[in-house]
């Protein structure tokens, strides 16, 4: 029996397609299905040409195949509105849901910070926060692991070309969800998130600034070491995650300046914000597969 968990990707857009390309290199996850709602979608056609089974009637078009095809993990790359239904239907069949939408039904997952914990508890729905959250929360956590962080603030600057209509129509959701996760996962008492959309051509690479206010005077040496170590952890799944400047210290303020270059699989390299989402989503599923393979967790029983 293969150690790979078999997967369905919901949503054949940019994120879903990039995820599919990354997944084809994975030792732990095997893409089997891609579903959408438009039979004419380029993404579905592309997936089909890559030998992936497709449905253009959403997940309803493949639910009866879940058991036969031994689908164990789903990636939802659609929108928050349909996510809850998708998740309920698939969870019922014992499929683990990795949620790349802002729905956030399940707990937030930022791989180097809390993935291990979610995987060991066989959390059936995990939410990948936001692109800005994936890029910055590891840094907030790197500081809060050393000492108490009273306030964490992140500024994500992304290229205009890398922000789709869904995010644009509900940009408040980005700021709220990210700020919530800066607290819940990053470990800051209070969190704030800011997003800036920049239309420069050629498109700028995703950049992120992380500011933390520590309760006591910051232990500069320990924080610097923790930040550098955390950068290495993220680089394991996003090689283009780069510390540009910092950490720099000003009183109790700790600032870190990052740049995120994507792998350029389907999405251009400047879209590090999208790449870090797909990479984190895949990394999450891989950890579940590893834990299942090691026998640390037992996947839902099937006849």
């Amino acid at each position: 029996m293969s150690k790979k968990l078999r997967a369905v990707i919901i949503g054949p857009g940019n994120i879903g397609t990039d995820l599919l390309m990354k997944m084809q290199r994975s030792d732990w996850i095997e893409p089997v299905w891609m579903v959408g709602i438009d039979p004419e979608s380029e993404g579905l056609k592309r997936a089909e040409s890559m030998g992936i089974k497709t449905s253009s009637t959403g997940i309803d078009g493949m639910l009866d195949q879940v058991i036969a095809d031994d689908i164990r993990v789903a990636f939802d790359a659609t929108s928050a509105y349909v996510h809850a239904e998708n998740s309920r239907k698939l969870n019922e069949l014992g499929v683990i849901m990795v949620d790349l939408t802002p729905a956030a039904i399940g707990p937030f997952c930022v791989p180097p910070v809390n993935l291990k914990q979610h995987a060991s508890q066989l959390e059936m729905n995990v939410n990948m926060v936001t692109c800005g959250g994936q890029a910055t929360i590891p840094m907030v956590a790197a500081v809060s692991q050393v000492q108490d962080v009273e306030y964490g603030e992140i500024v994500a600057t992304v290229s205009s070309r890398s922000i789709g209509p869904g995010t644009r129509q509900n940009i408040d959701e980005f700021t709220r969800t990210t700020a919530g996760a800066v607290e819940a996962v990053g470990g800051a008492d209070r969190g704030k998130a800011i997003i800036i959309v920049n239309p420069a051509e050629p498109p700028l690479m995703m950049r992120d600034t992380i500011h933390c206010l520590t309760k006591e005077a910051p232990d500069q040496e320990a924080i610097t070491a923790s930040v550098k170590n955390m950068v290495k952890e993220v680089q394991k799944y996003v090689p283009g995650y780069k510390l540009v400047n910092g950490p720099i210290f000003d009183g109790n303020k700790v600032s870190v300046f990052m740049e995120v270059e994507g792998l350029g699989d389907f999405l251009p390299k400047y879209a590090g914000n999208l790449d870090i989402m797909t990479a984190a989503g895949l990394r999450t599923a891989e950890m579940f597969a590893e834990e299942a393979h090691n026998g640390t967790i037992t996947l839902p029983a099937r006849g």
């Binding site: 603030e153 500024v155 129509q169 408040d172 700021t175 800011i194 997003i195 800036i196 600034t209 300046f257």
Partner: protein, 342 residues
């Protein structure tokens, strides 16, 4: 130019854009004194918030002396005739801030986006319009794109429910002909009942001339700031503009001596630095850089030994937009490393 009898709504920025120049530290007493003075002088609309708008309180832009709510609650009840406006930048503030402002008695919401990103404002403009507020779409850094692009984005904001559209010269880069062209196209193509506004900065010494050009081309709301208190070399100095409009017999409704006195007696004494076209502010205009970057670049110069002017020019070259204040220290660090200073 003939502006005889032309009606204009003057909108004061000193208690919002001026917050940049004060590092967001105006006291409640100062806000109340200035707004009361402006109200008595006949200014019909006064903006009050953190310099970066509702929700701008942050390490990135600076924590203010008081919350937006505290400022609004101090100022709104004191107004006899003037209405209060609040700025909101989607990505920084949210509809929650917008509702708070409405509950505080704010009359006008101005939703600001970069001049190419109007579609991030749909939920905020829609909400403000739904609450029947005076709803303004505010297209920043409008010098960076063509008149046709400004129009395209203005139409989006209009379709979301904005009843007034601003062409905003955030960098103080525009010269009068550009203002004429952009405002003229907006006036020709937007709905006849949509108001048009212009917001200038004085970085190239053009704020008064540009504001006149805007009025001549069809704008009926003009932003300015008493004593020019605003980011960079400041906004269109309102007392000067009122005097000019007086001479041109435009219909502005403001008492010249009273607004002169607010400028001289209340605003100038509280300035931390003279608001003038110094070499750094001039560089903002010359290089087309967001005006509130000024003090951040000057602080980076003091800390890392890289000239503010060089930082600002590089920021312009990189196409930075409003809100990217975090880029300034990052860039100064990189420049200082490259020069072997750190």
């Amino acid at each position: 130019m003939d502006l005889t009898g032309k009606k204009v709504t003057l909108h004061d920025m000193s208690l919002r854009d001026g917050m940049h120049a004060k590092q967001h530290q105006l006291s409640l007493e100062q806000m109340v004194a200035i707004s009361t003075g402006l109200d008595e002088a006949g200014i019909p609309l006064i903006e009050v918030t953190h310099g970066d708008g509702l929700g701008g309180a942050s390490l990135n832009y600076g924590f203010p002396a008081h919350t937006d709510e505290e400022y609004l609650n101090a100022v709104v009840p004191k107004m006899k005739n003037a209405k209060i406006s609040a700025l909101l930048l989607p990505g920084i503030g949210t509809v929650d801030h917008l509702k708070m402002a409405r509950d505080c008695g704010v009359n006008t919401i101005r939703v600001a986006t970069h001049c190419t990103e109007a579609d991030v404002s749909e939920q905020h403009i829609g909400m403000a319009a739904k609450m029947e507020m005076d709803t303004v779409g505010f297209l920043m850094m409008a010098h960076m794109v063509s008149p046709e692009k400004v129009l395209e984005q203005a139409k989006l904001m209009e379709s979301y429910g904005a009843n007034c559209i601003y062409c905003t010269d955030s960098a103080g880069y525009m010269l009068p002909d550009e203002v004429t062209e952009k405002i003229g196209l907006l006036r020709a193509e937007l709905n006849a009942n949509t108001e048009i506004g212009f917001h200038g900065h004085h970085n190239m010494g053009m704020a008064i001339a540009n504001s006149l050009a805007a009025m001549d081309a069809g704008a009926n709301r003009i932003d300015g700031s008493v004593a020019g208190l605003g980011a960079g070399a400041g906004n269109t100095p309102l007392e000067v503009f009122v005097a000019v409009l007086d001479r041109m017999q435009a219909n502005h409704g403001v008492d010249l001596y009273k607004i002169m006195d607010v400028a001289e007696d209340l605003v100038v004494p509280l300035m931390d630095q003279p608001i003038r076209v110094d070499r750094d502010a001039l560089t903002l205009g010359y290089a087309g850089v967001y005006s509130s970057f000024l003090l951040f670049a000057q602080r980076a110069e003091a800390k890392y030994g890289i000239q503010a002017r060089d930082i600002l020019v590089e920021l312009g070259r990189r196409g930075t937009v409003g809100g990217q204040e975090d880029m300034i220290e990052d860039l100064a660090l990189t420049m200082a490393k490259d020069k072997g200073l750190i």
